[in-house]
Symmetry: C2
Subunit: 125 residues, 2 copies
Amino acid sequence: MATAQAELDQVFGALADPTRRAILTRLTEGDASVAQLTAPFTVSQPAISRHLKVLERAGLISRSRKATVRLSHLEAEPLREATAWLADYREYWEESYERLDALLAALQESNRTDTNGSSTGRSTS
Amino acid sequence: MATAQAELDQVFGALADPTRRAILTRLTEGDASVAQLTAPFTVSQPAISRHLKVLERAGLISRSRKATVRLSHLEAEPLREATAWLADYREYWEESYERLDALLAALQESNRTDTNGSSTGRSTS
């Protein structure tokens, strides 16, 4: 699947920068303007705009206009694909089974908590 | 943690290339020489050597000499760190909870199978 490969190239490439990862983390708190995204960093607004273009190309953010402000919105779905690729290598994380088990248990526990009260119809206790 | 950030930069950067991902996949079958790693690709041996340097710098492979051959060995631990980073975004994979649940269940099931018969002293039934 050449397309899936190219998408993984772009997603992993987008994640290979600490400022871009920090932007994604900031967007988990809600949509933000370029000015808001620039504030925590020492880099310039044009530099942040270039990072946003890389993230948008990778499908990790979408952008919309609200009055005169352009807002960035986290699109996390491509991160699922990247995680799925990495998951194939779990058996080669030698000597890490127990830590992985703990991580997966925490993920599932947290998942269960996250979906409580949602419309999935699951019991809450 | 500047060091952890720099490591993630290198790991994600190393994964942002289809040939490098394919090399890692090949190494899950066992250690391989540069010639063996070059065979499946249309790229030159020097190009493969450059990819191996990127993977080695990211800690994803180690290299050893056996007689006159230099073998590459998969070091999957950094992939665990990358997966842990991605796992923090799981709650933003909207509308994917059920697929994620299935993935996590498969991972745990497979984990259980993988560790059966190993020296961890777990019961096999």
